[in-house]
Amino acid sequence: MSGGLALTELRLSHFRSHRAAQVMLDGRPVAIHGPNGAGKTNLLEAVSLLSPGRGLRRAAAEDLARLPEALGWRIAATLRAGARHHEIELRAEPGQSRTVRIDDKAAPQLALGRLARILWLVPSMDRLWTEAAEGRRRFLDRLALSFEPAHGEAVLGYEKAMRERNRLLRDQQRDPAWYRALEGQMARSGALIERRRRDALERIGRAQEGAATQFPVALLSMSQEDLGEEGLGVLLERERGRDMAAGRSLRGPHRADLVAIYGSKDMPAAQSSTGEQKALLISLILANARALRADLGAAPILLLDEVAAHLDARRRAALYDEICALGSQAWMTGTEPDLFEGLGARGQHVTMDADGGMRQEG
């Protein structure tokens, strides 16, 4: 097996529907099948929590505990990164926030980003191109974060300064020095955010050029131009009056949108068919993974929830071929085992029962 980035063991305790679960892995793609409600997505969610943030469902710590016990929960994983193995443990006691330990030492959540690169595609993202811009911004920031773990700190810094500024605006505070101090922070973090988002789009673009893929090329761009630190500072100061009338910051990187064009048809993604929109998303995730492999020498872990059901047999086979060529440990879920026939022995197969029981094959 390849020595790339992969989980070699995952243990769950009182996490979502799982009282106790354990999967032993060898780095091959993981195909999980079972009926609705068996807890397949919960497994993927547990893996997603090994990267910074609130995971693929954006859930609060208290929502992750198994009910009705609500005893708190624990995720323990062994992550192989090249020749090294890291022990990662996440847990939350009832009523408390989650804690992270890496190799038996307490660590901040952001430290996970430097260790594990994890990308995901979930059914709720099917509406990404037609829903409000916030979802696309979040998707874009996850792309940027995958290339640059420090992107998360810039986003947090920007949002914190903006929340402070918004409070001043709502309170009709008129101390210009206080505004300038906050706007300076927003401009510094905002310029970093703009640059890393743009950089991520360029890398994705390069990874799509000439790639051997059966999935359509998505041409990505930003809805607004980069202003840089100085330009953002000027903009925020100039807009202060209007912002005060609105009670919030109306312009800045927090309002940017991601624009996607279905390459071969030269058509906005939002106007493409549902199937084409899904294919574009898969294409982007695969391009992101190829770009990361080029950067880091190892493909990221992919979490593809219910992805196989939406693809015809030809595209499904192409997806499995591309994942195997990437050398990525892709976790995929589906209701029927037939969906993963094309993967065969190239993957590890996990069967889940309606009562949460789990069986590993291969």
Binding site: K160, R180, Q185
Partner: protein, 199 residues
């Protein structure tokens, strides 16, 4: 009549409210005190009573003191023209432990935070500006945290001090003494590299 067991429970509950102590460590501390009633608990209680009666904020810098002016502000030797601005008394104590700083302090009592309704007036910033001329301050050293709130406060203060033509500096950010590069985050390494100096 108070019951001894209830009093001890109340004491444990009070101790558990101290920073760094939980119910378990509070129980251990109280048990230790009860076992050493005469040599530790009584002197501790008496000392706490005295401090509770006399402790107050220094009217000039905001340090905790037993007198109107703290020992640092009362000392002419510390009026060397350097004024170090810190967020909290614990930061002042940390600076004093190092023994390297010979000037005076100004304790803000926190950082600017609109969300927590902490504004310039709550932070003794006007009092800081008012001290500059009478005390002949030549340099203000901003020793604030490298957080969003800390840096917002630093920029705010810098703007207030700028018109006074006083030198403004801030503590360096970078590799801690005894630290290994491998364990530093990207932001700290960037700051350290930007602030590099001739060897």
């Amino acid at each position: 009549m108070s019951d001894a067991a209830t009093d001890i429970d109340d004491l444990i509950a009070l101790m558990a409210r101290l920073p760094g102590l939980g119910p378990r460590s509070a129980r251990r501390a109280v048990l230790h005190l009860v076992k050493k009633r005469s040599i530790l608990m009584k002197p501790l209680a008496e000392q706490m009573g005295r401090v509770a009666a006399t402790a107050r904020e220094c009217t000039l810098c905001g340090n905790i003191s037993g007198t109107e002016l703290c020992a640092i502000c009362a000392s002419e030797a510390r009026a060397n023209g350097e004024l170090c601005v810190v967020e909290d008394v614990s930061d002042l104590w940390a600076m004093e432990r190092s023994g390297i700083f010979k000037g005076r302090y100004h304790v803000l009592g926190g950082t600017l935070s609109a969300l927590d309704a902490v504004g310039p007036d709550e932070l003794r910033i006007p009092r800081l500006v008012a001290r500059l001329a009478p005390e002949g301050v030549r340099e203000v050293i901003l020793a604030l945290g490298a957080t969003v709130d800390g840096q917002t406060t630093a920029h705010y203060i810098a703007e207030q001090i700028e018109p006074h033509g006083i030198e403004l500096t801030s503590l360096a950010q970078g590799v801690p003494i005894g630290g290994e590069l491998d364990y530093l985050d990207d932001g700290t390494i960037t700051a350290a590299l930007n602030a590099r100096r001739a060897f």
